[in-house]
Subunit: 395 residues, 2 copies
């Protein structure tokens, strides 16, 4: 009798669990487009302007959990005008890339790192948790379905954009009891058609991207809207392509546009050092390319690699001493991008950008050789979930 009661309880618990469904790859439904639009040789388009044929979409409710995931032709989302995403920025996203490798296989760069960060961001934004591994399998399937959209070129890739939005159709600032997870993809060209093209930065202490006690360390949509006018102003008024975001009364250097900041210099102790702002403050987005740059350069053991802070004052002193060797940004879209000039308080600071022998170029070469698998690396994962099962955990 006791045994039977226990079985009864077990079944009840199973049903409770079942009532709140999790996201499962095996439930995936696929509907293919009847009007494919892929044409070859059109990959020199503007970043993110040409969306691939199919998307992944999964709905969630607080009551029932995750609905079945679906791959289907890209089509407008039907969003209630009161949905929280349209009013309170209840939205988070990721950006990762798939590459057509030298062996012909398509691989994703560190997808598990991206989904781990997305989970952390979802929690901060009070959006629902999801099974990262199951979601990855769905993404891999989506890219398999649109495999033709992965460019066959060593300067191009398929940019993958997982997005999670709050869709509850009620006004009032609160956690959304409905959500939609979706993924779209877009073929993107290189930022570097003619090699690593250096760019200039406006460092204006008037504008601040993130602050202690805020969300700068998470990939929330709300971090981006306030930057658009600042970026526009930098370009139109100062001719600077990007913004160097400063923080605090001592003008700490934090990020570049939507990239992490790296400074390669001879530090105050006379040592060669690659420096990037520390994540500890919560101001800095924990970039996956940032992490990769740190891991690779630490393996080389050729110079110090430090996560710490640097102010404009310290930077200017080093610049005056001729100790600034390189400044670059890192990010999924651009990989690494050399800085040639910083405009700060009516002064211009030129930075060396000898692209042939630079650390920036070396990092770019190293990372792209991993991306396209001319240097096989466990950071890359194929689209075959079966194969993934074997290698899971080493990403």
């Amino acid at each position: 009798m006791i045994f039977s009661k226990q079985v009864g309880l077990h079944r009840h618990l199973q049903m409770c669990v079942r009532a709140l469904s999790s996201l499962r790859y095996k439930d995936l439904q696929i509907t293919l487009t009847k009007t494919p639009t892929r044409t070859s040789g059109d990959d020199h388009l503007k970043f993110g302007a040409h969306i691939s044929d199919h998307m992944l979409e999964v709905d969630w409710t607080a009551e029932h959990g995750w609905d079945i995931p679906q791959i289907k032709p890209v089509s407008p989302l039907h969003i209630h005008p009161a949905a929280k995403v349209l009013h309170y920025a209840s939205e988070i996203f990721e950006g990762l890339k798939a590459y057509r490798c030298v062996d012909g296989k398509v691989r994703l760069f560190r997808p598990r790192e991206h989904l781990r960060r997305m989970s952390a961001t979802a929690e901060r934004a009070c959006l629902p948790a999801f099974d990262q591994s199951e979601f990855l399998k769905c993404i891999q399937k989506l890219i398999s379905v649109d495999q033709e959209w992965v460019p066959d070129s060593k300067n191009q890739s398929l940019y993958v954009r997982p997005t999670l939005i709050g869709t509850e159709p009620t006004l009032g600032v609160s956690a959304s009891n409905k959500a939609k997870l979706f993924v779209i993809t877009t073929p993107v060209g290189s930022y570097f058609a003619g090699g690593l093209k250096p760019f200039s930065l406006l460092a204006d202490p008037k504008y601040v991207r993130a602050w202690t006690g805020g969300c700068g360390g998470y990939k929330m949509g709300s971090n981006y809207a306030p930057t658009v006018a600042v970026q526009k102003n930098a370009l139109e008024k100062y001719g600077c392509q990007q913004v160097l975001w400063l923080f605090g009364d001592d003008h700490q250097m934090t990020e570049i546009g939507t990239m992490n900041l790296f400074i390669y210099w001879v530090n105050e102790q006379g040592e060669k050092e690659l420096l990037t702002p520390s994540l500890e403050s919560g101001l800095i987005l924990p970039g996956i390319t940032r992490k990769s740059v740190l891991e690779l350069s630490r393996q080389w053991k050729e110079f110090y690699v430090t996560e710490g802070n640097i102010t404009m004052k310290t930077f200017i002193k080093a610049w005056n001493d001729g100790r600034i060797m390189e400044v670059f940004g890192s990010g999924t879209a651009s990989i690494v991008l050399p800085v040639q000039e910083i405009c700060y308080l009516d002064q211009k600071f030129n930075i060396p950008t000898d692209t042939d022998t630079s650390l920036t170029q070396r990092l770019f070469n190293e990372i792209t050789s991993i991306h396209y698998y001319s240097k096989p690396h466990h950071w890359m994962e194929t689209l075959d979930p079966e194969e993934e099962e074997k290698t899971a955990g080493c990403g």
Copy 2:
């Protein structure tokens, strides 16, 4: 000949202007619902959960300007999955209210102030400008169409939510070259079913709502997403209904939840004073109810009315001296709302809330008598655009 040339130029200029259309009330098209859902006596619903039958919708493109405005049945918006609103929080909104007044007419509270603030926010968010006066006429028409939805009760009103979102379907952080302006409305009950119900605040310096160089002074969607988890934490862990947002190392008191903060106290000079944080820092949302409270209480000339800063340290000293008379929040949703307790660094500070004779109650009475027109006031505007023409400019 010269004259004819000038006419030609004039026509050319006219065509250029026409090519970029402005938002015009006279172009408004109306499609009524065939299935009206309004039932009486259902106005005790949760705030913002019951959306009225019709909405106003106008699309914009950088190329052609504003399309024709349309009033139509509320229905899901069709939004491309790459639209900037879903990724980068390209979204702003307003919240204003329509009241069924004692003379039976429906009136809006200071709508021109709300649309002026919305225009300023649109500019900060790189979303398109619109003719405020024409937009107001469209909103007035929308409320006329859904006039049945304006509750006939002195504790209720119709909440009106103009929203502007960036809809360009391309990834990449930049100004949107497409946008959608829409308005939905929802009948809302009073926050004060049983009189002014006092609430408690969690003041945790770990979380910061807005910061110098950010967008706290604008009504952008991006200000809200980061607050959801903080608010949830205040309620679930500390039993506090709202958050008192602090700023800076000296813990300046800035805002309450989504409301402006007021402190009625005897200041350090021994004078009775109503104090609210100054707009100068850019941290504080320029609330329309905040402005109304300041204007009314300045007219009374009974105590000092000051826009300035106050830190927790100054507050606690005054509290210890027994100089804190009242603390309240102000906002469109809640009008004024008394605070009974502030929880700060493991200490609890009780605030007097003698609602019968309090300043909070007096302000509530004064403002609601304006809302429902038992005290006629130029802040209220009827729904008749013809009538509005005559009184424009005094709002």
